[in-house]
C-alpha cells in the first residue's frame, strides 16, 4: 500500500504543479497508461475547485478593519478622501501648507483635498521612509551622475538624469530601486544639509496632477516632464524642497 500512498502524494503534487520536470514526465506517462489514475487526477482537480470555492465563501466581517485600525491607534484613510489627507492633524498642516504654497510657491498648483487615494504616492512615500529606516538610503552610493544613471539600466526601464547639485548645497549621494505598483522604478538620492531627498521617477500614467503635499512632516512634490512623473520626497522644509525641485528641473531640462 506504500505504492498507493506514494502515488497519491505524487498525483496531488502533480495537480498542484509542484513536481519537477522529470517527475512530471514520469507522471504523465503513467497517466497515459492508467485510466484509474486519470480518473483520480480528475477527482483531485474537481475537489480543488470545490474546496477553493468553499474556503473563499466565508464572509469577512466589515467591522474588522475598523476595529483593527482603532486598535493599532490611528484613523483609517476614508476611501473617498486623499490618503495623504487622513492622518491625524493633517487638516491643520494642509491649511498651513496651502498658505505657504500660496505665498511662496507661486507657480505650483495645490491638489484639492478631495482627490482620490493615490497608490503611486503611497508607494513613493513608503520607499522614501524605508530608505530612511535602512542603514543607508541608497542601493548604490555615488556622487557621480554618470555612475548612477547607467546603474539603473537593466534594473528599471527608466534611467533618469542624475545631475550633481552639490554646488548649490544638494549633493547627489546615490540611487536606489523602489517598487511602485509592482514595478521597479529608479530613485535618485540627494542630501541637503542633514536631510535626505528622494527623487522617484515613474511613467506618467495618470491621476496625480503636479503639486505638493505634506504628510506627517514629510513633503512631497511632484511634476511631470516628458512622459515621466517625478516625485521628490523629503523632510526638508517646503521652501528648500521647492528650491531643490526648481534647481533639479532646470538642470535636467537643459539639452544634452
Amino acid at each position: 500500500m506504500t505504492d498507493d500512498d506514494e502515488t497519491l502524494l505524487l498525483l496531488s503534487a502533480y495537480v498542484d504543479g509542484e513536481l519537477s520536470p522529470g517527475e512530471v514526465l514520469a507522471m504523465e506517462r503513467r497517466l497515459a497508461a492508467e485510466p484509474d489514475l486519470r480518473a483520480l487526477a480528475e477527482r483531485l482537480r474537481g475537489l480543488s475547485g470545490a474546496v477553493r470555492t468553499t474556503l473563499a465563501e466565508v464572509p469577512a466581517p466589515e467591522s474588522l478593519r475598523g476595529r483593527i485600525i482603532q486598535q493599532v491607534g490611528f484613523a483609517d484613510p476614508e476611501p473617498r478622501r486623499s490618503r495623504f489627507g487622513s492622518w491625524p492633524a493633517l487638516a491643520a498642516t494642509l491649511l498651513i501648507g496651502a498658505a505657504l504654497g500660496a505665498s511662496v510657491g507661486g507657480g505650483l498648483s495645490l491638489p484639492g483635498t478631495t482627490e482620490a487615494p493615490n497608490p503611486i504616492g503611497e508607494a513613493v512615500l513608503a520607499g522614501h521612509l524605508r530608505g530612511l529606516a535602512a542603514p543607508q538610503p541608497f542601493d548604490i552610493a555615488s556622487a557621480d551622475g554618470h555612475v548612477v544613471k547607467p546603474w539603473f539600466n537593466g534594473r528599471t526601464t527608466i534611467a533618469p538624469d542624475a545631475p550633481d547639485l552639490s554646488e548649490r548645497g544638494s549633493p547627489l549621494i546615490g540611487g536606489r530601486i523602489d517598487i511602485v505598483e509592482g514595478k521597479p522604478v529608479p530613485t535618485l538620492v540627494y542630501r541637503h544639509d542633514r536631510h535626505v531627498i528622494s527623487v522617484t521617477v515613474v511613467p506618467a500614467t495618470s491621476g496625480a496632477p503636479p503639486g505638493e503635499e505634506r504628510r506627517d512632516g514629510t513633503f512631497i512634490e511632484r511634476w511631470e516632464a516628458g512622459d515621466l512623473t517625478y516625485w521628490a520626497v523629503s523632510d526638508l522644509n517646503a521652501r528648500d524642497l521647492r528650491g531643490f525641485v526648481e534647481l533639479y528641473r532646470t538642470r535636467t531640462a537643459r539639452p544634452r
Binding site: 476595529r67 483609517d76 521612509l129
Partner: protein, 180 residues
C-alpha cells in the same frame, strides 16, 4: 518612527485583512474566535513591522496569523492541537484500506458538490486535523506554493506535500461516504 510603522502597516497588513481573517476562521473554526485571533495577530504585526525586512510580506503576515491562531488554539482548545497528529494514523488506516484508488469514481467530485449543499464539504474540511486543514487552506485559498507553505508552517516541504495529499484523501473519502 510611528509614521513609518503606520505607513508600512497600512501598506502591508491592511490590504490583507480579509485574507488573514479567512485563515484564522478556518484554523479556529468560527467567526468570533477568528476575530480575536486577527486582532491579536494585527497587533503583533504592528509591533513587528519595523523589523520586517523586505521580502514576502504576504507570507510574513500569514505566518503571524497562523502562529497567533495556533497559540490561541493551544490556550483555548488544547485538545484540537494535541490530538491533531494523533489523528494522522486514521488517515493512514484509510489509505491502507486502499479505498481511494480502489473505489470506482462513481461521481465526479465537482458534480457531487454542485448538487450538494456546500455544507458537506465545509463539514469535511472542518473535520480535518488542524495541520492538514491549514496546509489545505494555504494552498487552495491563499494559493501559496509548497515552499511558501513550508515556511509559514515551519515544516519541511515533504511534510507539506504529504499533508496536502492526506487532506485530500480525507475529503474524497468523506464525500464518497456521504454521497452514498
Amino acid at each position: 518612527m510611528t509614521t513609518l510603522a503606520r505607513a508600512r502597516f497600512s501598506q502591508l497588513v491592511l490590504p490583507r485583512l480579509d485574507e488573514g481573517y479567512r485563515l484564522a476562521h478556518w484554523l479556529t473554526g468560527n467567526a468570533t474566535d477568528a476575530e480575536d485571533v486577527m486582532q491579536e495577530a494585527c497587533l503583533r504585526a504592528y509591533r513587528a513591522i519595523e523589523t520586517f525586512a523586505e521580502g514576502n510580506a504576504r507570507a510574513w503576515f500569514l505566518t503571524i496569523v497562523r502562529n497567533t491562531g495556533y497559540s490561541w488554539l493551544q490556550r483555548h482548545r488544547p485538545r484540537a492541537v494535541i490530538f491533531a497528529e494523533d489523528l494522522a494514523p486514521e488517515a493512514r488506516a484509510a489509505l491502507d484500506a486502499g479505498s481511494v484508488l480502489a473505489e470506482a469514481p462513481e461521481t465526479p467530485e465537482a458534480a457531487l458538490i454542485a448538487r450538494d449543499e456546500a455544507g458537506r464539504l465545509t463539514g469535511a474540511i472542518e473535520a480535518l486535523p488542524v495541520p492538514f486543514r491549514e496546509a489545505l487552506v494555504l494552498r487552495e485559498y491563499h494559493g501559496l506554493g509548497y515552499r511558501e507553505i513550508a515556511e509559514v508552517t515551519s515544516v519541511p516541504i515533504g511534510t507539506v506535500m504529504s499533508r496536502l495529499a492526506r487532506a485530500r484523501q480525507h475529503l474524497l473519502e468523506r464525500l464518497a461516504k456521504d454521497g452514498r
